[in-house]
Subunit: 271 residues, 2 copies
C-alpha cells in the first residue's frame, strides 16, 4: 500500500491515500510500530464519500490510534489530512468540510502555512485536584469532546514537574474514565496576554509532544479565568499552536502540518 | 532522496541506495528523528567502490549513528545492508565482502532467511563490578572491537533488573570511556546448552532492543566460562540472534534482516 507520513507539532501519522478497506487493528498496530513498521501515533485513512451530502461531505477522515482502535477526532491529525488533500491536488486551498466520527469539521487550508480547524465549543467540567510528585494542585475541568484538567498555578514549575506517571485526581469519582492533564505556564502571557506554555499528559498514553484538544482546553481555561475571548499562542514541546475562542463560543485551533515523506509498504519491489 | 527502511532484531536503519554524497550530520539527525523525519537508530549509505580491490571491495557500508556521527560497524546494520544488495539484484546470494570503517567483513546471504557476518575475534578485557539498583555484580570484560561487561550470575533476575540508568562500574578507571553492559540469563542454557537470554545497556544510548556485538560478547563470555566453543541462540528483546565461536577464534553473528518499506524523502511530489 502507498502512504504519506506527516506530523503536526510532532504528533505524527501514517496517511493512507487509498482508504481504509481491509484496515484491521493488527495492520494499524504494525504500521504504527516505530521499529518493525513505519512508526506513528496514529493512522489517517482518506475515505472518499460516494454520494456527498451536507451531513456527509466529500471526505471522511477514518482515524485510528496506534493501539489499533478507532478514535473520534484528532486536532493535529486533521490538519495533516487537509494538507494532503490540497497538496495532492484533490482540493483547492480554502475552506474544506471533513467528516469525522465526531461530526463534520470545517478546515481552513491556505496554499502554504498554518491550517485552522473548528474544534467545537468548550464546555465546563468539574474542577478537581491533581497530584504531581508529592504535591496537589487545583485544576479547572474543561471538555473539548474529551475531558481535561488544567493546572495554571504560577507557583508550578512546569518544566520540572513529573509527568512520567499518570497524575492522581481528587476526588477520583470526578473523572472515573480518566482525564487529560495540562500543565500551563501563563506567567509570560500575564505580561503579553499573547501566549502560554503547556505540557500535557494524555489519558491512556502518557506525556506527548502535543495534544490539540489539550491546547484548546489550556488556552480556554486561562482566558476564562481572565474573563476574555482572544487568540493565544500555545507552545507545546513539539511546536507552536494558536487557539482562538470566538464570541460565539467556537474554539479554533491553528497550527502547522508537514508532509514528511511518502512510501510503499511493505517493501515488495526491488529498488 | 530515495530510501529503504529495514531492521535486524528491531535495531532499525534508513538505507540510502544512492550513497552518502552530501550526507552531513544534520541530515542524518533529521532522517533518524522518529517524528519529524523517517526514524531510525542509524543510517546505512550504500557506497559503490569505483575500483574494487581485496582491501577495498565493491561495496562500502557508510554507517552513521542517529546522533549524526560516523560509526565503525554495526552487526545488525550490516545484515540489512547485505539483504538490500541481494534483494535489489545488485548481488547474487552467497558470500559477500563488505567494506566498513572496522575493516572488510564477510557476509553470508542466503536467498531468504538469516544472514551471517564474521565479526572478528573476541578479546579479553579486565573484569569489573557493575551496579544494578543497590547491588554490585561481578562481570567479565570482553572486546568485540568495542568494550563489554557481561553479568551472568544465576542469582540475577534479568527481567526485573533496572537498566534505566547507566550502570556504575568498579573500578571506574577500568573503563574510562564507558562500556556496554550485558545481563545474561544462562540458566536455561545450563540444561540445553543451546541458548541464553540477554538485555543490554549500550554505552551512550541506554537500553536497546538488540546489540550485535553485545550478543557476541555475552555468548562468548558464557562459552568461555564453560570452556567450550559452540553455537548459542541469544534471545534479545527484539528477537533471536545466533552466535558461533569457531575454533580459530572468529565469532560469527547470525540473525534476521527485514526490509520494511521504501520511500522518497522529502515528500516533494504530489500523490
Amino acid at each position: 500500500m502507498r502512504f504519506v507520513k506527516g506530523h503536526g507539532t510532532e504528533n505524527d501519522f501514517v496517511l493512507l491515500p487509498d482508504g481504509a478497506d481491509g484496515l484491521d487493528a493488527e495492520t494499524v498496530r504494525t504500521l504504527c510500530d516505530r521499529r518493525r513498521g513505519i512508526g506513528a501515533d496514529g493512522v489517517l485513512a482518506v475515505v472518499r464519500v460516494a454520494a456527498p451530502t451536507e451531513a456527509d461531505p466529500r471526505w471522511f477522515m477514518d482515524y485510528r490510534n496506534a493501539d489499533g482502535g478507532v478514535a473520534e477526532m484528532c486536532g493535529n491529525g486533521i490538519r495533516v489530512f487537509a494538507r494532503y488533500l490540497v497538496d495532492s491536488g484533490l482540493e483547492e486551498p480554502g475552506d474544506l468540510l471533513v467528516g469525522t466520527r465526531a461530526g463534520v469539521k470545517t478546515v481552513t487550508v491556505p496554499a502554504a502555512g498554518d491550517i485552522t480547524v473548528g474544534m467545537g465549543r468548550a464546555e465546563r467540567l468539574p474542577d478537581a485536584k491533581v497530584q504531581l510528585g508529592e504535591r496537589w494542585w487545583a485544576a479547572s475541568g474543561w471538555s473539548m469532546g474529551n475531558p481535561h484538567l488544567v493546572v495554571a498555578d504560577p507557583d508550578l514549575d512546569i518544566d520540572t514537574a513529573d509527568l512520567s506517571v499518570t497524575p492522581a485526581v481528587d476526588p477520583p469519582a470526578a473523572y472515573p474514565d480518566g482525564v487529560n492533564v495540562e500543565l500551563v505556564d501563563a506567567t509570560a502571557a500575564a505580561a503579553t496576554k499573547a501566549s502560554i506554555r503547556m505540557r500535557v499528559h494524555e489519558r491512556g498514553v502518557g506525556e506527548t509532544r502535543s495534544c490539540g484538544t489539550g491546547a484548546c482546553a489550556a488556552a480556554v481555561a486561562v482566558m476564562a479565568a481572565r474573563g476574555e475571548r482572544a487568540s493565544y499562542g500555545v507552545d507545546v514541546p513539539g511546536g507552536r499552536l494558536t487557539v482562538t475562542w470566538r464570541d460565539d463560543g467556537e474554539v479554533l485551533l491553528s497550527g502547522p502540518a508537514v508532509l514528511t515523506y511518502r512510501g510503499e509498504y511493505p517493501n515488495d519491489t526491488p529498488r
